[in-house]
């Protein structure tokens, strides 16, 4: 069945109903996540892409830390929110056709993105994410179906070992040391929120 993802992630999705969100709020943890990412992956002065960023709060926080961050999302609702909050460095784009050249970004962040893309399109998505990555690709996704998860758009959930094997097939390496370094800090500082990223590197 054809799904229009521009409209799938609409106001109803973000404000309650289809997802786990009750409004996509600028949480106090965004600055802490931005700081942790910047320090662990040494992002200052580097180009960073937040793929499928929703409302680009993380991009905004990264920018304040001298990271050249850009975000994009397919959602029409997010475009309206960006205008409303006068946020910058945002594009309206589809993760299956990322509008940037090969290896454009030192670090690409895909937080809660891959589980939203149907299985038959996942290779196209991963190919795009890997293509624009120069050094690090960070993927955050649930490792199994959680009974408390109300998000009907979570259509492609797999254990982390699944994604690791997948990405390795594109030639990237899973960096366990950096995975642990970030996860330890995440568990301590902002549990259940950006606490674990699968870290891949060229």
């Amino acid at each position: 069945m054809h799904v229009n993802r521009r409209q799938l992630f609409d106001e109803e999705y973000f404000t309650g109903g289809l997802s786990n969100y009750e409004g996509y709020l600028r949480d106090h943890r965004f600055p802490r996540v931005a700081r942790a990412l910047t320090e662990v992956f040494k992002l200052e002065g580097k180009r960073v892409l937040d793929a499928g960023c929703a409302v680009p709060y993380l991009v905004d926080e990264l920018t304040r830390l001298n990271v050249h961050a850009v975000g994009f999302d397919i959602s029409d609702y997010c475009v309206k929110q960006v205008k409303k909050h006068r946020l910058k460095n945002f594009l309206h784009a589809d993760a299956l056709f990322i509008p940037f050249k090969d290896k454009s970004f030192y670090c690409v962040i895909a937080s809660e993105l891959v589980e939203h893309i149907p299985h038959d399109l996942e290779d196209q998505l991963l190919n795009e994410l890997v293509r624009v990555t120069q050094k690090y690709l960070l993927i955050r996704t649930p490792f199994c179906h959680n009974p408390d998860d109300n998000d009907k758009t979570h259509v492609n959930i797999h254990p982390h070992m699944y994604w690791i094997t997948k990405i390795e097939q594109y030639g990237m390496t899973f960096d366990f040391q950096l995975f642990v370094q970030y996860a330890r800090r995440g568990h301590r500082e902002f549990p259940l929120f950006f606490d674990e990223f699968l870290v891949f590197r060229w």
Partner: protein, 262 residues
């Protein structure tokens, strides 16, 4: 052309544990236990060193109940490989890739880049995940090159000894199940004979959630369980696509040998 063999060892993943508890977190392994030949092996003794040695050598060393031996008063040391009077299957078939076979500590590795995690005695979630991930990487690599492979995960035993936290158990079991799925899928695609085998099961012995672990006073590089939440139970799991049923761990050794000798 002879058959190739993949042996997946799962320390502590007993038949009863899979059927009654862990199967909910390991749907693929549970499904295998219903769709392929699966046996519950009743054990004489639920100890790892003796049982892994029996599985991989066919010899039952009744005295080998601990990986360590006393040298003086309360001073102990690790038992070395050369102190075991047995020929292991990888001695007979030296081209085999052996990953983390816990017949001694640290576990035996051959023809692989895998290095045992924390002497095969990991005790944090990250150490367990690292073991699962590293074994996945090296075992898949070995299967790609059409090698015979033995790969043993020690995480279930280590984890259940010190925790009953269902979130932790689910996290580790889900990832282990996925790696078993990848290994079995690759093996089936390449027409391998494969066996999943455990040395014993685990059963709850404490109502507490969290156990304790501490470095040994005489060997601080080794951490031992000082308060256990689960202990060993006397049933082992065997699943295979060989279609052959087994009654004891020695039968598993015979099957492996037969496949490799064909």
């Amino acid at each position: 052309m002879r058959n190739h063999l993949l042996v997946i060892g799962a320390d502590g993943l007993g038949y009863d544990s899979l059927k009654m508890h862990l199967g909910q977190h390991m749907p693929f392994t549970y499904w295998l236990s219903t769709a392929r030949t699966c046996c519950r092996i009743k054990l004489k003794m639920a100890v790892s060193p003796r049982n892994w040695t029996l599985i991989f050598s066919g010899r039952d060393l009744k005295w080998y109940t601990l990986y360590i031996k006393r040298v003086h008063d309360d001073r102990w040391r690790l038992i070395k490989r050369w102190e075991l009077p047995v020929v292991f299957i990888w001695d007979e078939f030296p081209d085999m890739v052996v990953i983390n076979a816990p017949v001694v500590i640290p576990p035996i590795c051959r023809n692989t880049g895998f290095k045992p995690i924390a002497y095969g005695l990991g005790y944090t979630v990250f150490e367990w995940l690292k073991e699962i991930n590293d074994i996945r990487y090296y075992a898949l690599k070995a299967l790609e090159s059409n090698s015979d492979v033995i790969a043993v995960f020690t995480v279930i035993d280590r984890m259940l000894h010190i925790t009953a936290n269902e979130k932790v158990i689910r996290r580790v079991c889900v990832e282990l199940d996925e790696v078993i799925r990848q290994l079995v899928a690759t093996a089936e695609k390449k027409k391998y004979k494969w066996i999943i085998i455990s040395d014993h099961g685990m059963r709850r012995i404490s109502p507490d959630i969290q156990g304790n672990i501490a470095p040994r006073h005489d060997m601080p590089f080794i951490r031992t369980v000082t308060k256990a939440i689960h202990g060993h139970s006397d049933n082992a799991l065997y699943i295979s696509n060989t279609g052959i049923h087994v009654k004891n761990l020695q039968d598993v050794y015979r099957i492996m040998r037969r496949i490799l000798s064909q």
